[in-house]
């Protein structure tokens, strides 16, 4: 049975590696400016993790094959170098490799979190709520009206709790269920949660960030390809979590201006 285990181990290692090696599952296309760094990290880590996984299963299989069902009286042997080799291998090989990945990975992290948005980035406010996202554009006056939680009236589509009756800045604010952005322009998303914790995840944009009630967080990104992409919630927020999504609509610059004008008219 030891030999059978060895064979099954190798089979599992090969079968597990197969979908990766043959690119059966490819990352969704990257439409961001910072994603290349993340993708390259994933690629490098996959190489290391993959080799470690397959290597360990094969070594386990080889030893199980060789050292089960041994002939009566076969001598016991000790791995050359003993525990010292194991410790050194762990520190040197795995330790430095893995820490190197960590150091290299900082660049991708910094591009997302340690660089400020450009001054001409378009500011769009995003509100996450049970179970939809709403996005607010400041409108022609480039000012956002204040948010009053006690004035929220969803039946009347006042999702942000704006007070246009009394506040001029709120009157031209554009509220949309879709995140409409122009291509190749930096967008700064100002995020807040209306009720509980949510998260913002666009796979193709390689961004993910939680909405934390009580905190005003922000994300910035530049979409580089026109199209419609899913925004999904990745923080369990209640029964509708599975259906909490919106679409990011990346348009050409002129289509974007046309859309803004249309919305302002409504």
């Amino acid at each position: 049975m030891g030999k059978l285990l060895a064979i099954v181990l190798v089979a599992i290692a090969v079968l597990s590696a197969y979908p990766i090696v043959t690119h059966m599952f490819v990352l969704p296309e990257d439409i961001s400016t910072h994603g290349y760094a993340i993708d390259s990290q994933i690629h490098d880590t996959m190489l290391e993790a993959g080799l470690s996984f397959v290597g360990a299963q094969i070594v386990l299989a080889a030893f199980v094959w060789s050292f089960t069902n041994r002939k009566e009286g076969s001598p016991l042997r000790s791995f050359p170098g003993g525990a010292k080799v194991a410790v050194m291998a762990a520190f040197v090989l795995v330790g430095t490799e893995v820490l190197a990945l960590g150091v290299m990975g900082q660049k991708a992290w910094a591009e997302v979190y340690f660089t400020a948005p450009k001054p001409n980035a378009i500011q769009i406010q995003a509100q996450a709520e049970q179970f939809a996202y709403y996005f607010r554009y400041a409108g022609p006056d480039t000012k956002f009206g204040a948010i009053h939680p006690d004035k929220i009236d969803e039946g009347n589509q006042n999702y942000f709790g704006l007070d246009p009756a009394n506040e001029v800045e709120a009157r031209d604010d554009i509220v949309s269920g879709e995140l409409v952005v122009p291509v190749n322009r930096e967008v700064q998303l100002l995020m807040h949660a209306k009720d509980v914790g949510h998260s913002f995840y666009i796979r193709e944009l390689r961004i993910q960030q939680d909405f934390v009630p009580g905190l005003d967080l922000s994300l910035h990104f530049t979409a580089t390809k026109i199209g419609k992409y899913e925004i999904v919630c990745t923080q369990l927020c209640g029964l509708g979590h599975y259906n909490m999504k919106a679409y990011m609509n990346v348009m050409s610059e002129e289509d974007y201006e046309k859309w803004l004008t249309e919305q302002a008219g409504q």
């Binding site: 709520e129 049970q130 179970f131 939809a132 996202y133 969803e154 039946g155 009347n156 589509q157 999702y159 007070d163 246009p164 009756a165 949309s176 269920g177 879709e178 209640g238 029964l239 509708g240 259906n243 909490m244 999504k245 919106a246 679409y247 409504q266």
Partner: protein, 237 residues
Amino acid sequence: MGRKQFVVAGLAMLVLAATSKAGPPAGGTVSGKVTYEGTPAKMKPIDMSKEPSCAKMYPTPPVAETVVAGSGNSLGNVVVYISAGAPDEAAPSTAAVFNQKGCRYIPHVLVFQVNQELKIQNEDQTSHNIHPLPKINREWNKSQPPGTPPISEKYDKAEIFPVKCNVHPWMHGNFAVLKNSHFAITGDSGAFTLPNLPPGKYTVTAWHESYGDQSQEVTISGREAKTVNFVFKAKPY
């Protein structure tokens, strides 16, 4: 009339009296029109982009039904009912049906009676979550996946309160649970009629979800038709 016929007629009248419903069948009518003054807020089209299975059912996006304004400043979706002066009535055996279709509530305002069966149906391909928000009745919150049987509920106290779908934030409606059968809901024309009112002094109340409620007293004697009109002050936002 002979004595035997007299007894039969008397018995017949007794039977008739015993089996007839509370209140004589024919009576007065209160009717009128509900209008608004001022400029109502413009109803915005509903953004259903997060639910493509519903969004695709509309060639142009529908508008919200909070304020249904008709020609001549008429106001729809106003519940007009007798709030005082009429006795409580037992609930009818038919159910009041509330439908979820195209990610909207149909009707937007559902009027029914205390202890009447409320039947909620989901005709959409997506799961809805009905969450009525009463203050004095029992609050509940139920999911209704597509293809599951209708939900059956009832309310034992009179109250008017909102209903929302947790999953689709734009879905809002109202339940008006009333104590008797004297109610009407205005359409685009703003007109309403409350027939079959026995003689008495009544309070007629008109309720609108944004503009509040108003009441007027009216007295009916015999088979007369009285007119009661309501004018609500519209809000521009």
